[in-house]
Amino acid sequence: MAGVWLIPLLPLASALLLILSTGKMPRQLVALLGAGSVGLAAICVALLARDFLADGEVRQLTLWTWLAVGEFTPRIAFYIDGLTVVMMSVITGVGFLIHLYSIEFMWDDESICRYFAYMNLFVAAMLVLVMADNLLLLYLGWEGVGLCSYLLVGFWYRDPANGRAARKAFIVTRVGDTAMALGLFLLFTELGTLDIQPMLVAANSHWQVGDSLPILATALLLGGAVGKSAQLPLHTWLPDAMAGPTPVSALIHAATMVTAGVYLIARTFGLFLLAPPTQEAVAWIGLLTLLLAAFAALAQSDIKRILAYSTISQIGYMFLALGVGAYASGIFHLVTHAFFKALLFLAAGAVIHCLHHEHNIFRMGGLRTRLPVIFWSFLIGSAALAALPFTSGFYSKDAILLSAWEIPGIGPWLWAGGLLGAMLTGIYSFRLVFVVFFGSAHTEPDRQPGWKMATPLIVLCVLSLLGGLLVLPLSGVFPPAAHPAASHAVEYISIGTPLLGLLLAYLLFLGRQLSIDTLADGPLGRGLSDLWLKGWRIDQLYDAVWVRPYLGLSHWWRNEPVDRIYNALVSLCQWAHHRLCALQTGQLRWYATSMVFGLVLLVAIMLRNAT
């Protein structure tokens, strides 16, 4: 299939068209271009996927050699195997639905053209990221999605807060990217290539398991992954990134971009296998993140922030999976998560859209009857998120927990942590449902979602429900995972926990059997809820450790310390000038005297030398 290059090109081209039109295009055309291009791309991907499933052979396509300096010859080339196909399908499929949704959501916005340009650009970049056959091209896509995320988070640029959030997103991820770049340097210097497959081969031939170099290299790559996927310690940007339009959050900050880190690790798993410590670190980072984020999600009141934290936590699950070597299940969870998280965000967006931009869940309520479509989609989404049995989320998360259990030694701990996380997920997701859709109404919706909004919701509902039945063509990519043979007890526990969470949520937020207020009122409760509301105060920490010092430094250097040296020289010259000019008295006798002094001086010098 030579037309592969069309897939990223379509959205890219339409993005360029939209940019060049500089907002002069009629909305209809913009919508058509914006959504249509992605749709076409999706169709191409579908065709590609069909062929791939038919023969299952890896496809490679080289467009041209990017640059050739000595042995450094990265190419603009694509490498398409099962993993890529899965990612492409998610990106274009979910992407298309979200574009469709955006048409209605953004219809009244003056700069819808810019919006779709950015969105298409993002899709293109993301496609390049997953299709790249060498790490440099991947890095291109990597930074590209970063840029688009920056542009879209700061889309409503008039509000400085949005700009701030956008900058935060870009810079924090840039930190990770820099680590990743260093990783690339190291890999190339050591292995002499950045083409992924040859690199993995070379790595296996050069390095033994547990060597220091692969550990360093993978650690650096992990840095990049952590940044993009909003894991500890670089997760702080994601909650703020909700400043962008909701579909953006759905596409970038839930469905696709944030999973790039997961993709990177899965793509280079060969390296991670050589570095057990990093591998383990991945697992622990995942676990820690998913717990912290879940706790933080409990206390949020902004609907989007809750979803944002849940995203972080879910990606934590994926990292956990990667860490325990269950790559397939990790990717599986990535896919299902893409479905239900997109669904949730779109639904949330619809709520916000219909409640004229109300974000606070406690000012909503009682929407069950007023916005049925949204209610049902939200319900399904939450169910999948909480991994209630037979939803898509259930299958993927279950698989992850089981394979965590399998790991000798730390396994049970990871498993227990995962379970705790699962319960928390149940609580916060249904807290959301109960508070928003049940109880008494605080705000009246002023409109109903149109078909352009409804259709994606419905489709995603179906996917979220049945997504678990999908079979991903990953067999050729990852080593076959040992079939989990855990005891049934483990099975039941992991099935039961989410339900427990649901129950708790019901008791706390709907049944009012035990009031949340009484819990939150205790000093401990208040302290905790405050701590969680502020996301464990990690932002303040970074502010104190990085931001303020940097500001201080730049302020201190502001007016050029180096120049002081030169100014000192200048004033020295001026001083000398004035001293010397003071001798020019204009008095004849003094001049004569000075002549005599000069004479004496010379004699003195001569005598000094004479002796």
Binding site: Q584, T585, G586, Q587, L588, R589, V596
Partner: protein, 104 residues
């Protein structure tokens, strides 16, 4: 040569003395006339030195230079006095410390 011989060193020393007197005058006097006079003294000291040296070597060159110096000194002073007249007319004084328009 008959008569008492004066060693050249003594004459040179005298010349040096005269020369320094001239210099001192230049440095200490404020009246332009006196300055010119001390200039004269200096030049004549030089002339004396030449004469003494010429005598020492038994050459006429010393005297010749002496004559040259005399004429030169005359010229200098002639111009100098011309200027003095001008100064007297313009500055209404001969005190050179008053003439300090040019400075800095």
């Amino acid at each position: 040569m008959s008569g008492l011989q004066i060693p050249m060193e003594h004459v040179l020393a005298l010349a040096g003395l005269l020369f320094s007197c001239g210099l001192m005058g230049l440095m200490l006097r404020r009246n332009i006339i006196f300055m010119l006079m001390s200039l004269e003294v200096m030049l004549n000291a030089v002339a004396l030195a030449f004469v003494a040296a010429g005598a020492q070597w038994g050459q006429a060159d010393g005297q010749i230079i002496f004559l040259l110096i005399l004429s030169v000194a005359a010229a200098e002073v002639a111009v100098g006095l011309g200027l003095v007249l001008q100064i007297q007319r313009r500055f209404k004084t001969l005190d050179m410390d008053q003439a300090r328009r040019l400075r800095g």
